[in-house]
Symmetry: D2
């Protein structure tokens, strides 16, 4: 009946209660790494957040050519602290992975989410590189791994994943239309994609692209193939950065890209073999969704922390009272507390489920988290923004940019509606079991009452 | 990486993922008891639910005089199965308690919540007896324990707790006005209470009453005392049963009671000593709130199960489709699934917190659960009722009566608003820690940027 | 720029702003009638509400045999004031109707909704009699009108409408299975219905029943016929009253009724002719839905009024403050005010639309009101109940019974979900017009920009 | 009973039902102007929307120096059509006003809201110029009017209103700290403001600034004065544009401005006299809030229109179905339809109230609209964005920028919370009237029942 679990600094982030529930499952390595990460967040990432933005030029051309120097400095520090590639679990990636379970990493992803534009990248744990490294580790051949996986693991280059297409309802991946053709020993890629994250980044070395290679295959899930395209290929044309609300997220960006008859060498470009595109992207999504969710929870927690400080600020009195003494503010704080805590437990449970049943066995838990967490986080962010007034939605606070980023998660990797449909249907699969149970209960009831003896309830 | 945890039948109630998270904390005794309880629910309680209601007479007088025989039969069966007084943890009540933690019992309370009017009473785990037994076990003298605690623990008698008062805003307990006076060696109790659960029950033997004994005490928390009043005392007058929505919950009831100069012997009646009323009721509330929450989650889970069966029922086609194929039904199911799962984890975390830090150390977790769970459960119930149409709100299905019961939990033991206020304030206590952290970050930032060197973000 | 419109007492019910918007459309007869009705509500109906309930016996048999005498007294008073059958607009029913538009009556229905169990019945404006009188006035033959319509118009008898069936998804009326057969010159009705409102009432004289008369008709909308069945026919068996939450709504009730080979004379029983059942019930629903909505708004307004008084009650201080000084109460009041006002305007607009385009031309407005108003009113009621605590859900206040009644409106006459679907589809019918407009705009844009000259927005 | 009101093109914007309710209050001039405006929107504004954005340079300096030529062209066209200064009602501004009521203009503001960045400015009806012209028309001296009001009315110059301050909780205007001092016959203004809309615009000629002129005045509402500051005064320093989410809204902008000892001539600068600042800003807010609300409703209506087209687009099939055939889309459309319609009626009612009782008599209606409409519009926008997926939040669709603009309205001119508080309190002022009515009813009830004769309801 001791409470000394609470001495770990993570309790100031996730609370003592959640920690005491999961703490026995954390190795001492994980606990130390977590402490290390928290220190890195507080002493390096958060202090550098403002400088990072200040080092991005305003000029519309230059802002895509310069990497803020403070970021490369942070990466060096993270690597020397051993805070590197934490997302890659040795459980699933014995060769390159780190000795952390998904549950252990989930808490770390939440910590990173407090500085969502800084900390994940600084620790080489940022999307889309994370999912790309997983794909390359599992499906790429040794040549490809040497050329792309190792420098990615080392943080020397970055990468993008080219899936979403212009003018296409690509939440149904079978609609993808970018062509991958084999002609005279060459592979030729032709199409227009957009929202290709990282394609604007001068460090980007590789596009991992999924396209339609076998349109006539009767099995629609075998029509697609994944290829590697060097970012500097002359037929790859970055057309423009897309904006999220007004943000272009330079220098990484989410770009429209024209693949204008990109000619590739088949052996060099093919990932996992012809027709395996679908299989590969499905494996890519599970843990990544949990990471997004945990980072979102960290972001929401930070927003709540900011709100707590703001409404207690003696300089912010209105009508003779602190903001926290007004109307509904305290109630809003309580709701945010409850919603964040509940969402965190939901995601931790899903992360643990991945540990014991792999992503496939955790699909339901992942799906629930996927459609629940971003909506929750947006509500918390919105309340925090409201407490900050005009300051809350401008460049002087990180809230609006965080909100914009979170908003994309309600359709990225499949819109909420699709995930809700899938979860609803998964629940409906319990009906035969329930119906059988109900029948047993009714039989017992009839035996107890004597058929027809007891009247309908009046 | 095995999933064989899933073989326990509880996984069909709380899901495999929640179970795998908490299963290592369950003793083998707890696991067996849980399996036993599930069997008791399915083979005894649920089949008896209809008969229980059918055995309550319609006559407005008779319905307060008869205990449905099936209930006493169920109690015998539960006792012989060892499913008895499970709520009383040996951890806190070494003498009479059962070897279960709060976490272990929490899951059992959820199971009981599937038949909320049957299973808790059948296992001697029903409010208000549970809290009353805790009070008597902790504060009553040996004579009192012999007379009331032992028969309560044995299920021979029932009890009520007399706190809420007519015409008084008793969510602030310092408003209580029922007088407890000492005169000529006697204790005299005078007042009008209502919503005294169980006061209509012919088995009720004892009112545990809190009243104002020392109105002038400068410390408002020392003005109140708890006394025991035999239910058959001639000056105790049960005026009428109160209705919850239209339900009178006979034969137990929630009654208006007139204490009309009830004369008592001081030694026999006094619990814990003069002026300790407040202290006692506060200790009474913590775990009880968690039990309410877990039962509510069980009730919500049953409502969702009922909805799943209903919308899949081939007899319920409208416009050529099953209900589940219409509009928003599947989305509603997904939301209910997410909300129940999140709420369960919140309450399990609070229960575990009580195990390691007692009720006092878990106040925040308990408070969050208290204002979150009933609202969640009401939403799930409402969706289920809507899927059942008119049948959903009538006596042929348990949903409406469950809804009514759950609705009371939004103000019983303190209204949601009070709990939200307390949780909001508890969160605000984190501000000094956060402010100190923010200051450290700002100092680092200035050191990094060089004061004034980096301009405000344009 | 005068505000003297505000002198009408209705402004204390619907506010000055809504009144000044619609006042020019009110005849002076309507204004006087409205003033008369408000006086009747305040001086007769509301003072009698408690007595009405007290005059209903508790005995489960007797409560279906006695009409509270105060109700017959109120009916006499209403009739002598000319407050009688106000629902029947001369616009649509020149023979029996009153000189009021639907808009004018809508405001009166709101006033009646302040005492929903008293005032509509006292003024002969209560469902299901209202819709039944409309059906009889439009489709019954002179004999039938003499026998049933005239005594209904006079308030001597009451009536019920038998549609909903046991075990059938009757929100899709084509599922109805009660048989209406012609044999040897007789009509024979066989089936089991439930939720037949008014079937328990000793004054009930007539069941207007819809059943399946021509199951093989290729047009499913021509398979049904409406017949009149005398309530005292020996083959009509009232099985039991259904409960709404715990309320049986005696003496009127909503009963399960067995039609056990009810033999009828074809000429006497047939309404409007064979196969016209569908057509008749559809015409019956439009204005009735608006009446339900306006009464619901009146009920919500009363709940808000009650809440306003309660939270200002100096006897209800908690923690040293009036309830209105606590947390979110004032915000809840503001939300309720906004929601009621918006809903009222929506329904008034629909009522006015019926006046100018009949029910058929107002289907969209009626549908929007139908799925919007009950949910709104339930929210307002729920907030009011919460402000009253335990007292709010018991028999000492009307709130819980009002809540139960409002809850039925979310599926009665078609569940919310069906109406939302229909409105969504009606909106989608605007797409061709919108697409044509969009095309015109794009053509203009291209002319303005010069095709291809202006680049995609960067 | 005719429906030929529906021939006006406005029925395709606000629906036939709302139009038939208000149409009798529209003059034939107003109807023609409305038709003219709709034509201008469809044939000029919407086709120019894309070009307007394309003509704003990307260069961070240049974008503040260039006015998109298409805007000046649109202004010429609007003026020649007589669509100019429609916001200024002759009712309140006989000299410069247009012959339109607030109700009539409200519908026009909704039409303008379909192109919120184009149409209001093109018709000289854009904030903050509108409120500024009202202030100058009412309070400026003839010299000032000649210099600023006339060119503003003519659309030659633009203006800004300098109120919000950096680091100050300026939703409580008594917190404003910018100093206005009189020294040696000069007026000196010193302070830092931000969110000064239009201050970045090269056409901006004048800052109307409110500052603290008499800090010791015992009446805090008399401490403030309004002065005119030429935009090109050398001591006015535009520090930076603030971003709303990621948008800088160039070339108008919302800027941080340093007033660095701005020396002014007292006669030229003073508006309305010393100490009248508060009085002036309060008069400025009423109708302006209604204009914001109506434009927001127009924006929401456009978003719904866009959603309707999108979900019907045959190119957007997923999983073999149009988007509108999936899950909750149709329900979302129905909800949006209901919410927009209800909000519109609320605002039209408030606008009409201003016509008959001026802004002061309409404060409650304005307040309800103020806190209800932006939240409603944001919900509608959010659903539309979700239907568009990634495209919905980027520069290829106007939705995200509209969302950002609407989000500011939840705190601009006072945060929602303040307005809800005021409306809640206004409602509570009805309590004495309600209490008096309740007393009358209770007295009647006692007379009816005979005191004490009828028992409490059992």
């Amino acid at each position: 009946m001791s409470t000394n679990t609470s001495s770990h600094p993570v309790t100031t982030y996730i609370g003592e209660s959640a920690w005491s529930l999961i703490e026995p499952r954390f190795s001492s390595f994980a606990k130390k790494t977590l402490e290390n990460l928290i220190d890195f967040l507080e002493t390096e990432c958060l202090p550098a957040e403002h400088l990072y933005h200040a080092q991005i030029p305003h000029d519309p051309v230059q802002r895509w050519k310069v990497i803020p120097p403070v970021m490369e400095e942070l990466k060096r520090k993270a690597k020397s602290r051993g805070l590197w590639n934490l997302f890659l679990s040795k459980l699933h990636y014995p060769e390159h992975g780190v000795d952390l379970t998904n549950l252990e990493y989930a808490v770390m992803a939440e910590i990173m989410g407090h500085a969502p534009l800084i900390c994940p990248q600084a620790t080489n744990c940022a999307a889309p590189d994370t999912g790309n490294m997983e794909v390359l580790a599992r499906y790429a051949n040794p040549e490809q791994q040497k050329k792309y996986l190792l420098p990615l693991l080392d943080g020397q280059i970055r990468s993008s994943f080219a899936m979403t297409e212009f003018g296409v309802a690509s939440s149904d991946a079978t609609n993808l239309a970018t062509k991958i053709e084999r002609k005279n020993g060459e592979v030729i890629v032709t199409g227009r994609k957009w929202w290709i994250s990282g394609a604007g980044d001068p460090r980007n070395a590789i596009h991992i692209l999924i396209g339609l290679s076998d349109p006539e295959n009767p099995n629609p899930h075998k029509r697609f193939t994944i290829v590697l395209i060097p970012a500097d290929h002359p037929s790859v044309k970055v057309v423009r950065p897309m904006q999220v609300f007004g943000y272009d997220d330079a220098p990484e960006g989410h770009c429209e890209v024209l693949y204008d008859h990109v000619r590739l060498n088949e052996k060099e470009c093919l990932v996992g073999g012809w027709g395996r595109g679908f299989e590969i992207i499905q494996g890519r999504l599970g843990p990544g969704r949990i990471h997004h969710c945990m980072r979102s929870i960290g972001t929401a927690e930070r927003a709540l922390n900011m709100m707590l400080e703001r409404v207690s600020d003696p300089k912010r009195k209105t009508f003779g009272k602190l903001l926290k003494e007004h109307g509904t503010i305290v109630g809003d704080i309580a709701k945010s507390r409850s919603e964040i805590d509940a969402a965190r437990l939901l995601v931790l449970t899903a992360a643990h489920r991945i540990d014991i049943a792999r992503a496939k066995g955790a699909m339901k838990d992942i799906g629930i988290a996927k459609f629940t967490v971003p909506t929750m986080a947006l509500k918390v962010l919105d309340r925090a923004m409201q407490a900050f007034g005009a300051e809350g939605i401008c460049q002087d606070q990180p809230l609006a940019q965080m909100f914009a980023g979170l908003r994309t998660l309600r359709y990225a990797d499949g819109p909420d509606e699709v995930h809700m449909l899938q979860i609803g249907r998964a629940e409906l699969k319990r009906v035969p079991m329930l119906a059988e149970r109900s029948k047993r209960i009714r039989d017992k009831q009839e035996a107890l009452e004597g058929k027809g003896k007891v009247q309908a309830k009046l």
